[in-house]
Symmetry: C2
Subunit: 225 residues, 2 copies
Amino acid sequence: MRTTVNIGYEIRGKRSPGRPRSERAHQAILSCTLKFLESKDNGFANLTIENIAAEAGVGKATVYRWWPTKAALVADAFASSVTQKLHFQDTGSVRKDISLQMRQLIKILRSRRGHLVSAILGAGQSDKTLIRAFRERFLKPRRAEAYATLRRGVARGELAADLNPDLLLDALYGPIYMRFLIGHSTLTPAFVDDLCDLVFAGAEARELPVPSRSLANASGAHGAD
Amino acid sequence: MRTTVNIGYEIRGKRSPGRPRSERAHQAILSCTLKFLESKDNGFANLTIENIAAEAGVGKATVYRWWPTKAALVADAFASSVTQKLHFQDTGSVRKDISLQMRQLIKILRSRRGHLVSAILGAGQSDKTLIRAFRERFLKPRRAEAYATLRRGVARGELAADLNPDLLLDALYGPIYMRFLIGHSTLTPAFVDDLCDLVFAGAEARELPVPSRSLANASGAHGAD
DNA sequence: TTAGATTCGATACAGAGCGTCTTAGATTGA
DNA sequence: TCAATCTAAGACGCTCTGTATCGAATCTAA
């Protein structure tokens, strides 16, 4: 299943004969998919290939040629939209670095882009391709950055060295995703602050910093599915 | 929209004339819906009313008569299946009471019943009726029990009295739901233990127990949607 | 310049499932 | 008995699916 944004032709100057793929059509399809999913009451369920094709001024077969399923299309649209505005700073304080990024995340989740995330995660519950795309293209890169941030905190003695980084990150981000997906309570900056107060209180170093073991190989800490 | 399990007839002995509703058909429909959603690769998306009707040996119109949408049917099926095996004990330790219940929860989520939960939460992302049904019928009753458990902990001086109960509960259960829905890591009893270690460390009382304010009116702490 | 390859937009097609409706029969209270 | 309400079965028009076909367009290679 094709789930990568891959123009497919013109690799090292070589190009197979034939009419080249229309980049205009490609972009129009992804753009219309994003626009559809970001709008108010639309979700994965009522997105139809026919609508997207018509909206993009494209033949239906052109969509099916490049994306075998609706899920693959949405996954690519999501990947092409992943914001670059979600980074960790280096303020000298882990707690500050992370809470700032958490604030950025809830801002995105509460914006129109949030609809896209809930569409992906929602449809992902019955389509493993989608949820995998979310993990690989969204979660994993951000985790990699977070690991680096945590390692800085350990080196500065702010965090316990033997703390499991995935445990800490899930404790911080899990409540955000839970509130986002279940909607039983609001996602506010004050909530982020309180959450950080609570979780970091249990994550602080209680002895002098020692060479980290569990954080040293943090990037390999992803468990199986 | 009808989303309550309501037999509808025979209220206070009064019954309108006409053939009574077939309880056999009613139960067969709910049962087949549950069976379908609990099986391996089935989700809300590929559940069809026609299949359910055929499987239950029931006319399609009989389904539509009682449930206006697929979502209402699934919500009712879910409500009729909500296990009674998910309660909090009173061991004398909040941490123990809650971690035991968390272990029960992950056991359910990892079982066939977990498919039902992910189907509800997944489809709920594009159907507010469903996600509301989950909150009202599953989350809220369990939260009410959890508040009581936390109050006991405050009274015993195990928890800080000024701690927001929803914050603490989201910090504990959010990571479970996140792992369950995103699947980036596993839901094991060891994870529950580590998570409790981390979160309760920040929730412990650091002064003598005082009369609780935020926990006193905990049952009214649910925010807006 | 030409032949072959590949894509394009458009549309036709069969199939699945939707939600409504009709039918004929069953079961109740008045 | 009769009106009311339910039942199972399935016909109906509709939308969307995913595939196939069409002539036109655009590229490489000979």
